[in-house]
Symmetry: C2
Subunit: 212 residues, 2 copies
Amino acid sequence: MSDNINADTAANTAAINERHRVRMERKKAIIDAAITKADKEIGIIIVNTGNGKGKSSSGFGMAIRAMGHGMKVGVVQFIKGAMSTGEEKFLRRFPDEISFHAMGEGYTWETQNRERDIEKAELAWEQAKTFLADPSYGLVLFDELNIALKYNYLDVHKVIADLLERPAMQHVVITGRGAPDELIAIADTVTEMAVVKHAYAAGIGAQIGTEW
Amino acid sequence: MSDNINADTAANTAAINERHRVRMERKKAIIDAAITKADKEIGIIIVNTGNGKGKSSSGFGMAIRAMGHGMKVGVVQFIKGAMSTGEEKFLRRFPDEISFHAMGEGYTWETQNRERDIEKAELAWEQAKTFLADPSYGLVLFDELNIALKYNYLDVHKVIADLLERPAMQHVVITGRGAPDELIAIADTVTEMAVVKHAYAAGIGAQIGTEW
């Protein structure tokens, strides 16, 4: 090959390298911008609904995740309360880190008293509102709130207004079957826990440690 | 009415009462049998899969639920490990109650090294097997095991054989996207966490306290 051709090849290689560098630089800028865009730090509303397992337990998993990062957690249970659960027994050991309020009396088909259910739900929402007014709580969990909304024990629009007025950095986790559409519309992350199969169908009861 | 008719009526009433008593006795027996049937106490396999939120957090919620009832818990994380999570920070405070092993190095698209991923998964399964051989662990959580199975880092049939040989009262919770059909077939409770909406789509990043 002539010296001219060699010089051309070297120039070509340098040009290719430079084009590559510019392309990668542009790519990096796009990726960095995407990361920056998805790094918005703000309190979010998470809703766990559906008929499958894991709605409440996921909420409690997020509670200890937040506690692991030193965030203070508030819990209001809207239905549970009549029977002590494993999560309650465990979490009550840390009163400085988590404020735990089991304010229900059981599911509505157990209590069979609509007036009393409404009264209980309203009291529970009063407690919820004290958390929503206090920026020292980094994450609040309203366990089974969806049930109270589904049966109209609480007004969904009033609940949403209170949720939207909370401190900017506060996360809210709401669980329970039948989340109303209005709540889903204003939530940031909504998961439907769907049953693929359930041990109960095979004759296995609600077991200690996994179900309560 | 004649005395004869009165005597007939009284006999009829007694007969009706007796038939009712027998019917109710039979009904009670059926209900009791149903309750007994669904009160089977046995260690179950729970699988949390799907693309939505709540698979791992639900597993950790079940872990503290079990701890609240005084059960000892074992955790193996198959993917996480490179970065400390809130749940790890929190749960490591209770070394007598929970044995925590974060044995991964990140997702496969982060490590980009299939041989090393397999090596790590095999080491993690060795730890898992020590839990599966020890009846003192009431609940064991294999976080993101489904990922290791999905990429064939571990043989699903060997894993299933080990799972089925565990102590009778031990619960196993397995999480991660893409649970293989073979695992679903032998599991007792399977939930698909389905995305209804996710904050990430709105430009909100993986946030401390809720996502890790």
